[in-house]
Amino acid sequence: MLPPSLEKTPTPARWVSFRPDRKVGLNVGKVEFGQGIATALTQIAAEELDVMPEQIAITFGDTERAPDEGLTVGSMSIEISGASVRLVCADVRRRFLDVAAERLSCRREDLAVDEGVIRRGRQSTGVDYWTLADVVDLDAPVAEDAPRKDPTAYRVVGKSAPRIDLPGKLAGGGFITDLRPEGLLHARVLRQPSPQARLQRLDEAAIRSAAHGEVEILREGDFVAALAPSESAAERAVAAAESVAVWDDPRRLTPEQQEAAWLRGQPAEDNVVGEPQTGPSGNRLHRATYSKPYLSHASMGPSVGLAQYVDGRLTVWSHTQGPYPLRDRIARAAGLPPEQVTLRHAQGSGCYGHNGADDAAFDAALIALRRPGPPIRVQWRREDEFGFEPVGSAMVVELAAELDEAGRPTSWTGEIWSGPHGNRSRLLAETALPGAKDAPQARPPSNRMFSGAVRNAPPSYDIPRWGVIDHLIRETPIYCSSVRTLGALQNVFAAESFVDELAALASEDPLAYRLSLTSDPRARAVLEAAAEVAGWSRRGGRALGIGYARYKNSGAYVAVIAEVEAAETVRLKHIWCASDIGLVINPDGAKNQIEGGILMAASWCLKEQVRLDERGIASRTFGDYPMLRFSEVPPVEVRLIETPDAPSVGIGEASSGPAAGAIGNAVASALGVRVRDLPFTRERLAAAILAA
């Protein structure tokens, strides 16, 4: 079977080209957002083509050139794009060697490639990829059986490689926000407070006078943008617009709606996976309920979109996760055929899921279509990003286990209440355009087939019977979509807390109890390795907690141990991690991602919650949405366990759930009482202690 990206684009010429500057052009449809995929894919291509990584020039996510690889989500880039690049490059190398062998009247096996030069034994043959490029056919579809290199012969893959994009970023460039095409106009958009809000009055004269400088106000229905050659003027204009705009907004939110518990009372679509235990049970039962709040991506750079409409062609620059899907969405919304829209990916700050990127691109496209000619640059403000980006859904998870004599689960049942994850049903500005109120309301997709909420809901242990009941609440008070790990953060936090509770009921050590529930040698290896580096058996009075999961029940194995101090607040002292991610492409890059996933989870656990007021999201600044700071960050040690024969799996999301479990268990160990709701704020800890 071909990897899915190659099913769609089997022509090698779409992936690989040999450029006049003696570089190899590598085109991919996945995109870089700080996770290091450009570097890892460069390594894979260099390995299979036998060129140096420096000889590869990678470009990604340009709909004029790159293959369509859909969305860059779910830690699947290395699994899918990596497998495609590997096969394509292996096939390309073979095609060149076949042509060279024929010219030189020898066998393909007699030839080798070194830095792109074809050699016979030690001798150069005088031909290379670039001299043969005109005669080698790269149009015939890729062959599934192209001879890929044996991993034991790898020279580039498996070695740490520095990130190729970092030097340029330190030198001040590298991001979409740094693009300054000739003649650009800066734009800011006045956000519609809710999809139902209607603009009653807008004092344009007041806006103009506050702008102090040339400004153009574009208003269509409830969509308002300020355009100016000066960025500060555009900023002043939109700030003024915000204070003078009079909206009629029927939407009223309540403070209860910001809490996960609110979800339990809502109408839901139910979906059952596995065999949940529902009727009464004759066995000993343990049951507990856990929750997490709505979470923001809180990308460091608020979203940016650029667009230019010239001669009936629309070009959009975006830090989207899905260049092709976004191009198609924009084309549809703009009433243009997709061929007249080009989407060029440009890097944004880390996105960790579906943030405001697509919506800012759509803003820019809308403005450009109404103002043909100059490039339009829409910069969201921090308040726009926190206030209007999709958020990660709050979740409630209730777990129940039937226990045998020895205190081991014979059945495991999870019940989940969650809003949608992975929900790209709207572009923000659509509801502000004229006619929007008559258009059918976009509804999140029905997730009967697969709901992100159930990610990692099946236990990562050997349990004879398990089942999950997923209650999908489609109407959430605020728009929800994917945040790093989707439901896995909450499911693993709940499961690992629960397993510790079961271990305590059985009066067993949490590590030993977990090992007794796991026969998979790779799972046992990460648990034991984490315990060894953390000094689990010699922990004495230290408050340690352990968390483990296999991501998506089929990907990376990750065990995390956290040490905390907890009294009025939680202080993280140290975190250790062991992980098995199959064949490792870039060990240092992998560790970097694992560390990042752990610290993001730490920040979620200790600090984060999207807060609501009557009008919508109230936490719109870093002051209202605190995150972990440098002096609060513990040392993190990561050990990779090598399993080069196992396929590479994604790492970007695998460590967060186990980290949350470990921190939760460490907090319980420090306090002597368990806190089952995130985040572990001062108030939560105090309430838990009081209730105990």
Binding site: G34, A171, A233, G301, G350, N592, F630
Partner: protein, 158 residues
């Protein structure tokens, strides 16, 4: 009223025409082509736009251009585009200190100021000096490692 304002950036005298209340960040990025200082919040709360103004750490997003008239402004480009680059740059690359990299430029400016004032900072002192800065990717430990490395190197006689 657009006004002409003279100051220096990275040792080079410049004169710009701007509204007095335009931000320094806007002028650096849009008029002077210095995109190293980045926009993260516009409210002095994240450190992405950090620069030095007469040797003091400032949020360029929060500073009116009129206030820098006659001042010496230093941006991250003074560290990365100088020859040789500041030891911090090499150390950040060696430690692969960063993921998306968006926060790094502001952090580099803070770190350079710290190392100027304190040649032997402890890890806790470095962390405290960076507490204004947010990094969403969780690259904190590598960033601390890199600054420690640069500090050791700067101690050694050249």
């Amino acid at each position: 009223m657009p006004t002409s304002i003279a100051f220096s950036v990275n040792g080079r005298p410049v004169e710009v025409t701007a509204e007095p209340e335009d931000t320094l960040l806007d002028v650096l990025r849009n008029q002077l082509g210095l995109t190293g200082a980045r926009f993260g919040c516009g409210a002095g709360q994240c450190g992405a736009c950090a620069v030095l103004v007469d040797g003091e750490l400032k949020a360029a997003c929060h500073m009116e251009i009129a206030a820098v008239a006659g001042a010496k402004v230093t941006t991250v480009e003074a560290l990365s585009a100088s020859n040789p680059p500041h030891p911090l740059i090499q150390a950040f690359l060696e430690k692969q200190a960063g993921q998306c990299g968006f926060c790094l430029n502001g952090i580099l400016v803070s770190a350079s100021l710290l190392l100027e004032r304190n040649r032997h900072p402890s890890r806790a002192e470095i962390a405290r000096a960076l507490d204004w800065h947010l990094c969403r990717c969780g690259a904190h430990n590598r960033i601390l490692d890199a600054i420690e490395l640069a500090a050791t190197r700067m101690k050694e006689p050249a």
